[in-house]
C-alpha cells in the first residue's frame, strides 16, 4: 500500500502522520513536496495538519492553489482514497473537493483538547471498520475548526450520507456538530481532529483502539489483511 503524504510550506503534522503510517501500520508511505506532482501508482493520499502558508488569508486558502492540488483532484475523480486532517481538511474545503467552510471557533481561541467523535458513515475507505455511532476519543487542535454549511447544503449532506463524524457534544459551534465530511463518492474525507495523535497507547490517555480503525479501514479497503 503506497500512501502519499503531501507536504506544504508550513505543514507540521507531516512527520507525525508519516511515523504512524510507517511505524505503526506498516504502510509504504512517501512524502511529496507540494510543488512536485503525484505519481500514478499511489493508492491513497493524505493531506496532514499544520499551518500551510501560515494560515494567511484563510486557513488552507493559499495551499489550495498549490501545483499538487491538480493531481489530488485527478486522483479524487479516479476514486482513490484521500484524507485531509485539520489543515488538510481546510485545504480540501478550499480546493472545493469537499463542501462547506471552516470558520474560527466560537470561542475565537485556538483549542487543544481531547474530545469524542461519533461515526456517522462507515462506508468510506477510512471508516469501513467502524460500527455506526461508534465513539472515538481523539484530540483536536485548531483555531479555525468550526465547520459551517448553509441549511440547503446540510440537507444535501444528510441525504447523501456525507457526514462522516460528529462531535458527541457542542465544542466549537460547528453546523450540526459536524467534525468530518466526505464527497458524494465517499472517497475524499476531511476531518478536524487528529487521528495520528490518538493511535498509540503511550500518548493516548483514554483508548487508542477506535482511532486506529481509521488506518485499519484504509488497509482493509485496499484488501490488505491486518
Amino acid at each position: 500500500m503506497k500512501v502519499g503524504v503531501v507536504v506544504f510550506p508550513g505543514s507540521n503534522c507531516d512527520r507525525d502522520m508519516f511515523h504512524v503510517l510507517t511505524d505503526v501500520f506498516n504502510f509504504d508511505a512517501q512524502y511529496f513536496w507540494h510543488e512536485k506532482g503525484l505519481p500514478q501508482n499511489i493508492d491513497a493520499v493524505i493531506l496532514p495538519g499544520g499551518f500551510s502558508y501560515g494560515d494567511r488569508l484563510r486557513a488552507g486558502a493559499i495551499a489550495a492553489h498549490s501545483p499538487v492540488i491538480k493531481d489530488v483532484q485527478k486522483m479524487a475523480e479516479k476514486g482513490i482514497p484521500i484524507l485531509g486532517v485539520c489543515n488538510g481538511f481546510q485545504i480540501l474545503v478550499e480546493s472545493e473537493l469537499l463542501p462547506g467552510v471552516l470558520l474560527k471557533n466560537n470561542s475565537l481561541n485556538f483549542m487543544c483538547e481531547w474530545t469524542n467523535l461519533i461515526v456517522e458513515n462507515n462506508k468510506t475507505p477510512f471508516t469501513g471498520q467502524f460500527k455506526l455511532k461508534q465513539k472515538i476519543p481523539i484530540p483536536i487542535a485548531n483555531g479555525e475548526g468550526r465547520y459551517f454549511v448553509d441549511d440547503n447544503t446540510l440537507k444535501k449532506l444528510k441525504k447523501n450520507n456525507q457526514i462522516v463524524f460528529r462531535y458527541d457534544k457542542i465544542i466549537n459551534g460547528s453546523s450540526d456538530r459536524i467534525a468530518g465530511v466526505c464527497n458524494e463518492d465517499g472517497n475524499v474525507v476531511g476531518m478536524m481532529p487528529h487521528p495520528e495523535r490518538a493511535v498509540e497507547s503511550e500518548i493516548n490517555p483514554i483508548d487508542n483502539k477506535p482511532s486506529s480503525l481509521i488506518f485499519e479501514s484504509l488497509l482493509s479497503s485496499m484488501g490488505v489483511e491486518n
Binding site: G10, W33, E35, G54, R56, F110, M111, R197, E200, E202
Partner: protein
C-alpha cells in the same frame, strides 16, 4: 541608547581613535547589559556547569545533554520582558521565536516550548488582564504555527508586576549527537544571512531591554512571523543533513552586530561584510540601522564556497531568502562596508567582550523586618477560605492558558500539561520530564531561600513523574543592578542556586540574566525562574485514575512557614513572615524515596505540595479525578500547628502519594527503612473534600463545586473581568 562616558573613553583608548557612528552603534548594542552580561558574568561562574552528561561546544546558545544511545537534548531559556510590557502579543511571540532559534543553532530540532508568565493583579488591573490575554495569544499563535508543542509553564500574578510583564520562554531540542553542528570556519568561507528581511523594527532592542521601562519605545519591539521561522527550521535541518553548515548563529538581541562579533570572536576569525548585500525590508536603511536591527527570523550561517549553491537551492525550495553578505578573513576584525566604503573596522575581541563590572551590593533594609510574623485575624469558616483560594488567579487551573497551546503536535507528549511536570517520549525509548518554576513571593522575603525553593520545587515536579533531575536552566530576573540593594538580592539568589546545584550535582546547562526590570512604581520582586530537565530510563509515572478506597500519604515535614504563601498574601493581605527553607539532606532523602516507590510501581499518583500548601495539593488530586477524600490533620509530620497553618503552609520537600490499599505495607517498609517523615492522612471516596482534626470538621467542600470553580475562574476573569 549610547555608551556611558567611561565606556566611550575605554573604547577610544582600546582602538586608539574616535569610533565611527556605526562602530558606536555596534559596540553600544554588544556592550549593553542584555548582550554583554557585564554586571553578572563574573558571578555566574560560581554555578556548576559541567557533569557527566553535559556536552560543551563552541558558540552554542543552548545547553546540550547526552541522553544516551547517540542522542542529545538541547535546552535554553530566554525572556522578552520589556517588549512584552509594551506590545504583549508581538513581544511574547518573538520571545518564543528567539529561543527556538537558539535550539536550532546547535543543529537540533525543537520539540517543546515552556512559558513562565508574570503580570500585575488581574483581578483589579485591567491592563494586566490585557497584557496576560495578549501574551498568551502571542505564544499560542507562534508556537502552534511552528508545530512545536507548548507543554508546560506557569503563570503568576503579583502587584509588583503592575504595568509590566515577565514573559519567559524555555525550549527543548532533540537530535542525534552526530548531527550537532560543530562550529568552525576557515578563511574564505562565506557568511550567509538566511531568513526574514532586515527592517527598522527592533532597532536598539537590546539597549531598550537594558534600561528601565520609563518611556515606551515602540520601534524597539520586534514583529513576529512564525511562518518564516517554520521554513527556517526545515531549511536549516535539511542543510544540516547535507552537511552544508560550518557554523550557525541565531540573530537575537543586538542583531547582526552581536551575531557577527560573537561568531568571529568565538571562532577566532575576522569577518568582512557588505550591508548592501543584506536583504532589507525597505530601501534607504543606514548601515547603523542594518547592523543593530533586531528583525526576527534570521540566522547567520558560515558555509564554504562550494556548498553555497546547494544551500541556496534549499532556501529556494522553502522560498526563503539567503544572502551571502560577507566572508571570513584571517585576523580578528569585523569589517563592515557599504559597497566599497568602510563604516566599521574594529576588533571583535573588543566588541564581544565588554568590560565586566564588579557592582557593589548591600543587604536591603526591608529584609530586617520582613520575616516578622503578624497576628492574623482568626478565620471562622475555612471552607470559604478554601473556595476563595481555589478560585484565586494564582491557584486556579491554568487550562484557559494551555488549552490554547497545541500541546500534542509532535506526538511525544506522554504526560500532558496540567500535571506536575510534562513528559515527552524520546526516540531511544527514554522519557524527558521538564518543569519550570518561580516564586517571587518567597524570593522577596528571602532571596536566597526563595531561589533554592524554586530549584527544589522544579525538581519535585519532575520527580513526581519518576524522573531524575539531570540539568538545570536558570533565568535570573531582577531590577536595576546599579542599586546595591537589588544587586545583593541577585547575588544571594545566585549563591543559593549554586549551593543546591552543587549538593545535588545538577549542572546548570544554560541560563539568562534579565536586569533593569523596573516598573513605574519600582523594582519587581526578585524573580529567578528555574527549569529542570529530568530523565526517565524506563517508564514514567503517568497519573492513574484515583478510585474509592485509595490511600493518600504525605511525605515530608509541614513547618510554620507561611511567609510568602498564598494564604498570607491573598487571604490576609500580609506580605512577610517565615519563608520556607530547604534542608538539603532531607530534600534528597525525600526525593530519592519518591523515585524509589515510583520505580517499584507502588503508587498511582505523586503530586508535590507547593502554592496553597497541603490543602490545595490534596484538593487538586480530588478535582482532577472528580473524587472526594477524607483527610485527617492529626498525624501530619512536622511542627505542631493551628489547622489553618497545617493546611496552607508552603513548606518544601513535601509530596502527596496516592496508592492502592494493597501496596501500603510495602510502601511503609521502604519509607521506614529510609527514615523519611511520612504519614497516611486520607482515604479517597465520596463526593466531598473533607479535612478533619480530631472529631472536628475543618473543611468540607463539594468536589463538583470546587472543580467547576477551579477550572473556570481564570478564563472567566480574563473574558469577563
Amino acid at each position: 541608547m549610547s555608551l556611558e562616558p567611561q565606556e566611550l573613553s575605554d573604547l577610544k583608548s582600546k582602538i586608539g581613535r574616535d569610533p565611527t557612528s556605526t562602530e558606536l552603534q555596534i559596540v553600544a548594542a554588544e556592550w549593553s547589559e542584555h548582550c554583554s552580561y557585564k554586571s553578572s558574568k563574573k558571578h555566574l561562574k560560581m554555578l556548576p556547569m559541567t557533569g557527566p552528561l553535559v556536552i560543551s561546544e563552541k558558540g552554542y546558545d543552548s545547553g546540550v545533554l547526552d541522553v544516551g544511545d547517540g542522542y542529545v537534548i538541547t535546552a535554553h531559556i530566554e525572556s522578552h520582558n520589556h517588549p512584552s510590557a509594551v506590545e504583549p502579543y508581538g513581544g511574547a511571540a518573538t520571545g518564543v521565536g528567539g529561543v527556538i532559534r537558539d535550539i536550532l543553532s546547535a543543529g537540533t530540532r525543537p520539540i517543546a516550548i515552556f512559558d513562565g508568565l508574570r503580570f500585575g493583579d488581574i483581578e483589579k488591573d485591567k491592563q494586566a488582564r490585557w497584557l496576560f490575554k495578549n501574551a498568551v495569544t502571542g505564544i499560542a499563535d507562534y508556537g502552534n504555527c511552528l508545530g512545536i508543542p507548548t507543554i508546560g509553564g506557569e503563570v503568576e500574578f503579583d502587584e509588583c508586576y503592575s504595568n509590566y510583564a515577565l514573559v519567559d520562554v524555555a525550549a527543548v531540542g532533540f537530535g542525534k549527537k552526530e548531527n550537532l553542528i560543530k562550529n568552525h570556519a576557515n578563511k574564505g568561507d562565506l557568511v550567509v544571512l538566511m531568513g526574514g528581511s532586515t527592517g527598522r523594527d527592533g532597532i536598539g532592542g537590546s539597549q531598550f531591554a537594558s534600561d528601565s521601562l520609563e518611556s515606551e519605545d515602540r520601534s524597539a519591539v520586534q514583529i513576529p512571523d512564525p511562518f518564516i521561522e517554520k521554513l527556517i527550521i526545515e531549511a536549516i535541518i535539511e542543510a544540516r543533513n547535507h552537511n552544508l553548515i560550518n557554523a550557525l548563529k541565531d540573530l537575537g538581541g543586538g542583531g547582526l552586530s552581536c551575531a557577527v562579533s560573537e561568531t568571529a570572536d568565538t571562532l577566532g576569525i575576522g569577518i568582512e561584510m557588505d550591508v548592501d548585500k543584506v536583504h532589507a525590508r525597505e530601501p534607504g536603511m543606514h548601515p547603523d540601522e542594518i547592523m543593530v536591527s533586531e528583525s526576527q527570523e534570521r540566522m547567520l550561517i558560515i558555509t564554504s564556497k562550494q556548498k553555497l549553491k546547494k544551500l541556496q537551492a534549499i532556501c529556494k525550495k522553502f522560498n526563503i531568502t539567503c544572502s551571502a553578505i560577507g566572508h571570513v578573513t584571517s585576523g580578528n576584525l569585523m569589517h563592515i562596508k557599504k559597497g566599497k566604503k568602510t563604516f566599521a573596522n574594529i576588533s571583535t575581541d573588543i566588541v564581544a567582550n565588554a568590560k565586566l563590572l564588579d557592582r557593589p551590593s548591600k543587604k536591603p533594609a526591608y529584609l530586617k523586618t520582613i520575616q516578622k510574623e503578624k497576628k492574623l485575624k482568626p478565620i471562622s469558616n475555612l471552607s470559604k477560605t478554601m473556595m476563595k483560594l481555589i478560585s484565586s488567579p494564582n491557584i486556579a487551573s491554568k487550562i484557559w492558558v494551555y488549552g490554547q497551546y497545541d500541546h500534542e503536535v509532535g506526538i511525544r507528549t506522554v504526560v500532558k500539561p496540567g500535571r506536575d511536570a510534562s513528559v515527552l517520549r524520546l526516540d531511544n525509548g527514554k522519557f524527558l520530564s521538564v518543569k519550570i518554576d518561580g516564586n517571587p513571593k518567597h524570593c522577596y522575603i528571602n532571596p536566597r531561600e526563595g531561589a533554592i525553593g524554586c530549584f527544589e520545587e522544579a525538581c519535585r515536579n519532575v520527580v513526581c513523574t519518576g524522573a531524575k533531575p539531570i540539568g538545570m536552566l536558570d533565568h535570573l530576573q531582577f531590577g536595576n543592578p546599579e542599586d546595591p540593594e537589588i544587586f545583593w538580592t541577585f547575588l544571594e539568589s545566585l549563591k543559593g542556586l549554586t549551593d543546591f546545584a552543587n549538593f545535588f550535582k545538577i549542572p546548570c546547562i544554560g541560563g539568562k540574566v534579565s536586569l533593569y526590570n523596573e516598573t513605574p512604581s519600582g523594582s519587581i520582586k526578585p524573580t529567578p525562574l528555574i527549569g529542570i530537565l529530568g530523565l526517565i530510563d524506563k517508564k514514567p509515572l503517568v497519573p492513574q485514575k484515583v478510585e474509592s478506597e485509595d490511600y493518600l500519604v504525605i511525605i515530608g515535614k509541614t513547618k510554620d512557614e507561611l511567609g510568602g504563601s498564598e494564604y498570607y498574601e491573598y487571604i490576609h493581605k500580609f506580605i512577610g513572615g517565615n519563608c520556607p527553607t530547604v534542608d538539603f539532606k532531607e530534600s534528597k532523602k525525600n526525593m530519592d524515596s519518591v523515585l524509589d516507590v515510583i520505580e517499584k510501581g507502588l503508587i498511582k499518583v505523586a503530586h508535590d505540595c507547593s502554592k496553597g500548601g497541603l490543602a490545595i495539593a490534596a484538593s487538586e488530586i480530588c478535582m482532577t479525578n472528580q473524587i472526594g477524600c477524607q483527610i485527617s490533620l492529626d498525624k501530619i509530620p512536622g511542627d505542631k500547628l493551628d489547622s489553618d497553618r497545617i493546611l496552607f503552609s508552603e513548606s518544601h520537600s513535601r509530596y502527596l502519594l496516592v496508592l492502592e490499599k494493597k501496596n501500603y505495607e510495602q510502601l511503609e517498609t521502604i519509607l521506614q527503612k529510609q527514615k523519611v517523615p511520612y504519614s497516611i492522612i486520607g482515604k479517597f471516596g465520596g463526593k466531598k473534600i473533607q479535612f478533619t482534626r480530631g472529631k472536628k470538621s475543618i473543611v468540607d467542600l463539594s468536589v463538583d463545586k470546587a472543580q467547576k470553580t477551579w477550572l473556570n475562574s481564570l478564563g472567566e476573569l480574563v473574558m469577563h473581568g
